[in-house]
Subunit: 343 residues, 2 copies
DNA sequence: CCAGTCATTCAAACCGCTTTGGATTTCATC
DNA sequence: GATGAAATCCAAAGCGGTTTGAATGACTGG
């Protein structure tokens, strides 16, 4: 069933039928009713390729993600996608995801632009020395950054959590509890967000005249073993920390495992604060959440990023906008006062 | 830059240019060279909407996932997607993901078919009383099932792990170690895979004349707290288990946490076997993996499912094919002989 | 009664590509 | 030198929509 057939059945022109279906005013209500009714009855829906060709709009948003696993194809990305996807489908947009060989990433973006595969893209996981935004500007593809590109804050649209402040507050909480030997298990520090978190941590320490101990700062992909192995290593080391500040629930769970294996108790002997992206399969809820955390829903970020982007596409030429969100600091069971004397 | 402009620059017809670019034989090598060269120089790439309209092929595969979180928008799904995505892009296909309100799921499939949004879809997480395949047959949309639809095994194409056998083997391993009180922490049992796993478990017990204790079988979304809370509950119960069989690494980590909190040691006091989907952010590797597990790469399953589907699309009318994979049984640190006497 | 509006509807062009069905040229063959 | 096959190339017709520009009819006001 296509437009031609439908219009023949109705003894109307394709023009009128198309307009009736798309809500144009120059169609009498009577005809519009007839048309929509018949369309429903015959199960007509416009061929999206044809429509896209005619309108010149792809009605799709692209997400290109390099094949390699680092920091990208992880649960956090998934949750973001879920949020963005909801917004897209509410607005009739498709979400197209390209998993590409790392070397072909740039190529993928160019393809999207020249082949008109999508009307815009979202940049995930900006690095400290980010470059994708330049390419996208060059090829004129609208985009929104999930995170922030250092040095390009005013010229790009982005949505980010205040990473620095979150980790500063978390650090202060630990400091207030009397902890002075605090370990930082951070994400890969070539990523912008991880740098900011580290800065927040260091600032908080510095404000109390403390310096971060390089031995207690580790950075890697935020896996569970990363948390466990490093915590184990530190706890068995010469001058162990009494608290851990962790960049991800997943790694925090690893830390908790290590603490348990050392015969210590989380929240008593060792305090843990983690950032919690509010992943659906890692609920950290309950009356008193398991982990004390800084929380910020990444799914919500996805929704907002999508809204931002769709807005840019609908109103080209508007100024870049940014959304800077604060994380909640939530007290759970994993923190407590620093143990007094040395063991 | 479109085909028309390109052909004018070359003083050739659109036909010839199109053919040259698409590798048709009726073009002299000389012209083909000229064309490809000029195309590269001017950065020409065909508009994908136009091509799709002309060829009638969407060159895209759809994945529709209901908005609700259950069992679907989880890391396992993500990893599957990553695998499938690789295959798609290698074959020039796009992956389009629709996140839809649960009630609109059927509608989403219909839209894909009538609007020609995709050439095929993949069904995720088949339930015990699955129905989507009927709809898809009715509307004539090619599909592959990730998992299996009970009763429709021969009439659908699918890829699945041998869940029953995996859990049977895992159970036998525990039984061989002397465990008789074994707990099962399973996924939601309206899902086909979870039922099969349970069957495997029960079969193994039955073969030794044992019956499963209903108190020791729990089923829910495979979150970390699900593992922890239930393990805690059982361990503090009257007749605690000495071993756990768990459906997911995530929940297994929760179980390990509970074991630790009870002052017990994993692999000594309590044994754990989990299914391991080989998620990238939860590596369970090392010389001796942390968890004894049944392992099957879900990313690989994604690749294969995509291949299957693309094949079906390229060769319509071929018989449905299925891929049944066995999981590896890998001995890690989390299992040991059953503690002899009662505590 | 007629020009002028407004409300409807339509024929045809267009979006950018693929593909059908020739047309033209080349060249060995008879 | 005519002939047929092979090698190239092309004009034009789709694909299935949207949109422009104009036509038609009904209605208003002078």
């Amino acid at each position: 069933m296509n437009l031609k057939e439908l219009s023949q059945r109705l003894e109307l022109s394709q023009t009128t039928v198309s307009r009736a279906l798309n809500g144009y005013p120059e169609v009498s209500e009577e005809t519009r009713r007839r048309v929509t009714e018949m369309a429903a009855r015959l199960g007509y829906a416009p061929n999206s390729q044809a429509r896209r060709l005619a309108t010149g709009r792809a009605m799709a948003i692209g997400h290109v993600i390099p094949r390699s696993i680092h920091e990208m194809m992880n649960p956090i990305f998934l949750e973001f996608i879920a949020g963005a996807g909801e917004t897209y489908s509410m607005h009739g947009y498709d979400m197209i995801i390209s998993v590409v060989e790392d070397a072909l990433e740039e190529d993928a973006y160019r393809q999207i632009a020249t082949r008109k595969k999508a009307d815009g893209v979202i940049i995930h996981g900006p690095a400290h020395d980010e470059h994708r935004h330049k390419l996208l500007k060059e090829i004129g593809l609208p985009f929104v950054v999930h995170g922030r590109i250092p040095g390009a804050e005013t010229e790009t649209s982005w949505i980010d959590m205040n990473n620095r402040r979150a980790f500063e507050r978390a650090s202060n909480l630990l400091l207030d509890l009397g902890h002075t030997r605090i370990a930082l298990l951070n994400g890969l520090e070539h990523m912008d967000f991880a740098r900011r978190r580290r800065t927040g941590f260091e600032n908080a320490l510095a404000a109390r005249g403390l310096a971060a101990d390089p031995q207690l700062m580790r950075s890697a992909d935020m896996t569970e073993p990363f948390g466990c192995d490093n915590a184990m290593d530190m706890l068995n080391g010469g001058n162990p920390p009494t608290a851990f500040l962790v960049s991800s629930m997943i790694s925090a769970i690893g830390v908790a495992r290590a603490v348990g294996q050392c015969g210590l108790t989380v929240g008593k002997d060792i305090s843990i604060i983690t950032h919690d992206d509010a992943l659906s399969f890692l609920p950290n809820s309950g009356e008193v959440p398991i982990f004390t955390c800084t929380r910020s829903s990444v799914r919500y970020a996805g929704q907002k990023a999508a809204e931002l982007l769709l807005n840019m596409i609908a109103n080209p030429g508007t100024e870049p906008t940014a959304l800077h969100m604060d994380a909640e600091l939530i007290i759970g069971q994993s923190t407590g006062p620093a143990p007094s004397g040395p063991a």
